[in-house]
């Protein structure tokens, strides 16, 4: 084999034996001609270019379309492992939705003293307009992405909850399509759970949350900011796969108490809107009055039961890392059970004791902004320079409530394909979760993000991360 993994490696156990989940894959891999694999590696990229699976990046003058690098070695999860994850995710997602209902209604959890009031008072994603309103079907987050990391055979942790607008699901689907096109024989040798059911499940689960005003079969649309948005490909892809309309704000208008779209036959009402624009742009009458992306008056229609907005406005409260730090309490409060999936240990810098500890141990910790995302605005102590650490120390002292800190985890590795063979790289996992009144549905698989640079812990595509096909094995 190649380089020795420094952390828990998901393919190779100590001593170089192959772990059971990867048995089928490795058997196949060892029979392949390395130069043929190299050719396939290049073929994968041209396939992504051809199908246009790109994201837009904005530079100085013009928009550029980039590919997220794809690694052709799958990330494999055994059937038993997956079942355990599913139970943990279901529990967490149910608690998240119950928490949001509570936050926007009686706030029992705050009355009970289990979480502090500042949790929503300091939370920019909190929406006064949602207070006392229950979304159709009682669902707040219809589509949730739970980011998981692993450090050992049975050690999985939740790193982040994405209850607002989790993206990347198109990569889960296209990565699988690409793998099946490139290595059909592999899929006849190894039994892998399909992921292609996701768009159908999404359509079904959105339709199940149709608002009271719906007549007949619900009309579903994906609302996109437009072709210049970085995730436009995904918006179009999902609309296409669901057989739904792909609308922009300029196509919509509030008429007769409904949100209606301008079709070639005139205006027609929409029932469920899967929106991929942020809360603040949703309704210029209610939020940002400069927004041209949204629909004036949509919030009034929403509150009167004329339309379903997925995910519900105000769900961003749960993406806040201060809320994350209370998730163990939140899960216990609403489910009456201990969390099946633990959080990563987290110090809230708002607490004096924690802050003191964090300041003393900056070199070993990862510090994150409470409202940050995408891997920006964070400090990775062990790899940071003295100057960066000093700068963070200053920021922490000035606005401690804006930060949390976590230990630097020994993230698991999975091999990627390199010119010199397989080499371990750190990975995380984002399974996609659908919530409807009929229950929670988790697609067996997800998006595995991989830090392509040796030793790097940052998997974000904006910072040199790639993706892999994620396999959940059948029993």
């Amino acid at each position: 084999m190649s380089e020795a993994p420094a952390n828990f490696d998901e393919m190779y156990a100590e001593g170089g034996s192959v772990r059971p989940a990867y048995g089928g894959y490795c058997e196949w891999y060892d029979q392949q001609d390395p130069s043929w694999l190299k050719r396939k590696h290049r073929e994968a990229e041209s396939n992504f270019r051809k199908t246009g699976i790109t994201f837009n990046v904005y530079g100085e003058d013009e928009a550029e379309e980039r590919l997220i690098p794809f690694d052709m070695v799958p990330r494999v999860i055994g059937a038993g492992e997956w079942r355990r994850l599913v139970r943990g995710i279901e529990q967490r997602v149910s608690a998240l939705n119950a928490f949001m209902y509570d936050l926007y209604h009686r706030q029992e959890i705050i009355r009970a003293g289990r979480v502090p009031q500042r949790l929503f008072q300091n939370n920019a994603a909190w929406l006064q307009q949602m207070v006392g309103f229950t979304p159709p079907g009682g669902v707040y987050s219809h589509i949730v992405g739970i980011d998981l990391v692993r450090t050992g055979p049975d050690e999985w942790f939740v790193l982040e909850d994405n209850a607002r607008t989790p993206s990347g699901v198109s990569y889960m689907l296209e990565n699988r399509e690409t793998m099946m096109a490139m290595f059909p024989e592999l899929f006849s040798q190894v039994d892998v759970e399909p992921v292609a059911t996701y768009p159908r499940q999404l359509a079904k689960s959105l339709a199940a949350c149709a608002p009271p005003a719906t007549k007949g079969k619900p009309t579903v649309a994906v609302l996109t900011p437009g072709i210049y948005n970085s995730a436009y490909f995904e918006h179009a892809f999902l609309a296409d796969q669901m057989g739904a309309e792909l609308v922009e704000g300029s196509d919509l208008r509030v008429m007769d108490g409904r949100v209606q779209m301008r079709t070639t036959r005139g205006f027609q009402p929409l029932d469920v809107i899967y929106r991929r624009i942020d809360d603040e742009y949703l309704d210029p009458l209610t939020f940002n009055s400069d927004s041209v992306l949204g629909v004036p008056g949509i919030m009034d229609v929403y509150r009167a039961g004329g339309v379903t907005i997925a995910n519900a406005p105000g769900t961003g409260v749960c993406d806040d890392k201060a809320v994350y730090s209370f998730m163990p309490e939140i899960v216990e409060f609403y489910t009456g059970e201990k969390p099946l999936l633990p959080n990563v240990q987290t110090w809230r810098c708002a607490d004096d004791d924690s802050l003191a500890y964090v300041l003393d141990n900056l070199e070993e910790l990862v510090v994150k902004e409470v409202h940050g995302s995408g891997g920006y605005g964070m400090l990775i102590g062990p790899t940071a320079s003295k100057k960066e650490i000093a700068a963070f120390r200053k920021k922490l002292k000035t606005t401690p409530e804006n930060y949390i800190a976590q230990p630097t985890l020994a993230l698991s590795t999975t091999p990627i394909f390199t010119k010199s063979g397989l080499a371990p790289r750190h990975v995380d996992l984002r399974p996609y979760v659908l919530v409807s009144p009929n229950g929670v549905d988790i697609t067996p698989g997800g998006l595995t993000r991989v830090a392509l640079k040796k030793g790097s812990l940052v998997v974000n595509s904006s910072q040199g991360g790639g993706t892999k096909d994620t396999w959940v094995l059948k029993d």
């Binding site: 051809k50 246009g52 179009a236 296409d240 792909l246 196509d251 301008r262 079709t263 070639t264």
Partner: protein
């Protein structure tokens, strides 16, 4: 279907047709330039710029330096020519992205791979030895997209909006090409009996890829009247005005059926129908070819505007 989506399909196919027609013009221009002496070759290239409607923009940059490389690079890729083939094709792709959820993945991939090919072809100035290949790639792009359409697209409103875009653009472009060359086709000229330039006539046919079909139908005989009759009235040839007219009529009728409603565009189409079916080659030579072409273009534009209005292309 959304009005904006219908608009996207309509324009996606207008731009596709435009890119292809421009490539045909270049092709014909190259052929002429190669068969002429040096001074006349320049005149041919000048005529290509004039026909494509870029005289002002070209002369702003090159004054009267109508050399071949100046002309074809200006038409294919020059940023100072906003209608260059590369950006026209980029418009095709942008519109295809806009309507991505109503076109088949075959159509999308045909557009996207063609765009990648053209980007590669036109990264740097095109040398004469490469011009044929580049022009071929543009034409092949059109054929691939149309082929993917024919083989994979649902025959619903979207298909007919796309086809309407194709034939509005084609009719417009052919009328323009004929109008710019009309002095070559005047009957008076053919009576002069002086050394008639049949090469020029051939070039007119070649600009719309009609030379082979014309020869086949006329056993190699070539005259001005025959060419006009062929390019204007022969509805067997897919790049004649009569063909564009009836194809547009059929697609608009299909849209009206699908929408259970006739609009202004159908009404204008009926008027145009009366005009076209009553026209003979003698009428055209009596009223003047130029006037006939102007009338055709005006009707064509009015129909295009009515389609956008009837089907709520824009808010």
């Amino acid at each position: 279907m959304l009005g904006r989506t219908a608009n996207g399909l309509f324009w996606m196919f207008r731009y596709l047709e435009r890119a292809e027609n421009t490539a045909r013009l270049l092709d014909a221009g190259l052929r002429m330039a190669l068969t002429r002496d040096h001074t006349k070759a320049k005149e041919e290239w000048r005529s290509v710029i004039v026909t494509s409607g870029q005289k002002v923009a070209f002369e702003a940059k090159f004054e009267d330096d109508y050399s071949g490389p100046n002309v074809w690079n200006f038409i294919l890729r020059d940023k100072e020519n906003s209608a260059n083939v590369l950006s026209t094709f980029e418009q095709v792709r942008t519109n295809a992205r806009l309507v991505r959820n109503v076109i088949s993945s075959e159509v999308w991939e045909a557009v996207n791979t063609s765009w990648m090919q053209l980007q590669d072809d036109l990264k740097r100035p095109v040398a004469q030895g490469n011009l044929g290949k580049v022009v071929g790639d543009v034409r092949r792009a059109g054929m691939q997209v149309h082929g993917a359409m024919a083989g994979s697209m649902l025959r619903d409103a979207g298909f007919h909006f796309a086809r309407a875009g194709t034939f509005v653009e084609r009719g417009d472009s052919i009328a323009r090409i004929l109008d710019i060359k009309y002095y070559l086709l005047l009957p008076s000229l053919s009576y002069v009996g002086s050394s008639l330039d049949t090469g020029q006539w051939d070039n007119v046919l070649r600009s719309v890829s009609g030379d082979r079909a014309y020869r086949w139908l006329n056993a190699g005989e070539i005259d001005a009247r025959g060419i006009v009759e062929f390019l204007v009235l022969d509805d067997r040839f897919p790049r004649s005005l009569a063909f564009c007219h009836s194809a547009l009529r059929d697609n608009l009728a299909a849209l009206a059926r699908l929408h259970h409603n006739e609009g202004l565009c159908n009404e204008l189409m009926r008027d145009a129908d009366t005009e076209m079916s009553a026209t003979t080659i003698d009428d055209i030579f009596d009223t003047g070819l130029h006037q006939f072409l102007i009338d055709f273009s005006n009707r064509n534009n009015a129909i295009a505007a009515a389609i956008a209005e009837d089907y709520r292309f824009i808010a």
